[in-house]
């Protein structure tokens, strides 16, 4: 006897909750697969080259419970958050200003895109010479990585606002500040959040690179110290920590991004 599911009739679409649960299950399977691959790889090349997942977790726990880890994490967090605040604020301001003025946007866009594509790590000697060793150099390094994508995405989002919104703002005699806050920002929000998501990743990257070269404290410093002493277990443990944190935050921003994209848009 055939099971009901085998009957060849169109299956009614499953409710969203069930679909979402199925998708989460699939993602969990992929994660499990990755862990299995990691374990297998560790067996093949040896634990000295690639420590196994369980050993890595144990190592990570040991690192995190050591007394000086809190200080290093705080240092990285402080530098990263400062860099993020500066990159977001300055990037948004540049993007809004350039996006609102057509000619400026045309002038600036290729320059910004060129800045985005150059390997900014090359600039680290200049940053060190200008800011000296310490937290300001790290913050500057994070900012130069994060500011460009935020500005580029904000500019594009503002340029793509439907002209009728701006005409409505003029008809209602809104001041430029009101227009920016009440019309441009909400209308451009989905694009801006995409930019913030990429800006977040790159600022983290920049801050960590800055720490690796220009610092005696922070997670980047721990990483480079472990690299120099060939301490693979620590490298893999710290890398895992960074990956988990970055993936969770990025996932949250992505969910926000998708929700904004789906929200009803009046007049469309």
């Amino acid at each position: 006897m055939r099971a009901a599911a085998d009957v060849d009739v169109p299956v009614p679409a499953s409710p969203p909750a069930v679909r979402r649960a199925g998708r989460l299950g699939d993602s969990a399977l992929v994660l499990l697969g990755l862990l299995a691959l990691w374990q297998f790889g560790s067996w093949v090349v040896g634990a000295a080259v690639l420590p196994a997942p369980a050993a890595t977790l144990a190592k990570l726990w040991a690192i995190m419970s050591s007394s000086d880890f809190g200080g290093h994490a705080w240092e990285t967090g402080r530098a990263f958050l400062s860099a993020l605040a500066i990159a977001f604020a300055a990037g948004l301001a540049i993007g809004l200003l350039l996006g609102a003025h057509r000619l400026s946007a045309e002038v600036a866009e290729p320059i910004l895109v060129a800045l985005y594509a150059i390997p900014k790590i090359t600039l680290y000697p200049i940053i060190l010479l200008l800011f000296g060793l310490g937290i300001s150099a790290k913050i500057a390094f994070g900012v130069i990585h994060g500011i460009v994508p935020v500005a580029v995405f904000t500019m594009a989002a503002v340029r793509n606002i439907r002209p009728v919104y701006l005409r409505a703002a003029r008809a209602m005699r809104l001041t430029p500040v009101q227009t920016a806050g009440r019309i441009m920002l909400p209308a451009a929000l989905p694009g801006i959040v995409s930019g913030l998501r990429i800006g977040f990743s790159l600022t983290l990257l920049g801050t960590l690179i800055g720490e690796m070269f220009a610092s005696q404290r922070g997670i980047g410093y721990l990483l480079v110290k472990a690299m120099e002493t060939n301490d693979v277990a620590t490298v893999v443990a710290l890398a895992t920590l960074l990956i988990v944190v970055a993936t969770i935050v990025s996932g949250a921003l992505l969910a926000l991004n998708r929700r904004l994209d789906r929200s009803p848009k009046p007049g469309r």
């Binding site: 000295a48 080259v49 000697p125 200049i126 996932g251």
Partner: protein, 250 residues
């Protein structure tokens, strides 16, 4: 040339001239930043030495390898993921947050794996670029009108013919974006790796010049690198515009 283009050149020339003037007048610490004319002199001197040319050739070879491998693998991954929708939905969150992960932290693992030669650098450049290629390929395949595939079936094209005659030309704009990303990312990955730990290459040479307070060589090398990357991007961009013009817009 358009009005924006003229203004853009004016802005750039003005910025360089301002830096030159500030350096000559002594407003800027000479130990930190040297005048643009000095940078050009440094670049010229660097180009004249056998050693620097070796570093440049070394980096360019590594980047080209990473670029080629990432474009081929990224395209294959994109096509494969497109064929497996359920798997793709499961991998999607991972792809989306891939660039939040500082990939270069794996560089030491690669050094242990491959030894201290060019291959760990190729691997880092490859890892940096491959996902951007895959994401853009997927993006293009998603927007491929179904009628194209139906036409291919009607004409009884083989899978290989379908790929080369229909799919690739139809998603060319996305593949072009993928190639641009792959160029930028393989450069960033390789140079970053050279900075961290390597015995040769442009990144190594810049770090070496910095450590020995040789500002002329350092700024010369930086200028050469940026000029090269920008020229490459500009030519790709111009080529792309021509391609669009021939297709009659996107």
């Amino acid at each position: 040339m358009t009005r924006a283009g003229i203004i853009r050149i004016g802005v750039l020339v003005g910025a360089v001239a301002a830096l030159e003037a500030a350096c000559r007048a002594g407003y800027v610490n000479r130990q930190a930043v040297i005048a643009p004319s000095e940078m050009v002199r440094g670049a010229w001197r660097v180009l004249g030495t056998q050693e620097a040319r070796g570093h440049i050739a070394e980096t360019l070879t590594t980047v080209s390898l990473a670029f080629l491998l990432s474009v081929i693998a990224g395209f294959a991954i994109g096509v494969a993921l497109h064929r497996l929708p359920r798997f793709r939905r499961a991998v999607d969150p991972l792809l989306a947050s891939y660039y939040a992960v500082p990939t270069f932290v794996f560089y030491p693992v690669f050094i242990v794996l491959f030894g201290l030669n060019r291959w760990p650098l190729v691997a880092i450049g490859f890892l940096f670029a491959v996902v951007a290629v895959a994401i853009n390929t997927l993006d293009g395949l998603d927007r491929l009108p179904p009628v194209f595939m139906r036409t291919a079936r009607v004409l009884r094209l083989s899978p290989r013919q379908t790929l080369l005659r229909i799919t690739v030309p139809a998603i060319a704009p996305w593949l072009f974006t993928a190639v641009k990303f792959a160029v930028a990312y393989s450069f960033i990955g390789v140079i970053a790796g050279e900075f961290v730990q390597a015995g040769s290459g442009i990144g190594f040479a810049i770090a070496f010049a910095y450590n020995s307070f040789d500002n002329l060589t350092m700024y010369g090398l930086m200028l050469l690198l940026f000029a090269f990357v920008c020229t490459l991007n500009m030519s790709l961009w111009t080529w792309e515009q021509k391609l669009y013009a021939r297709r009659g817009g996107r």
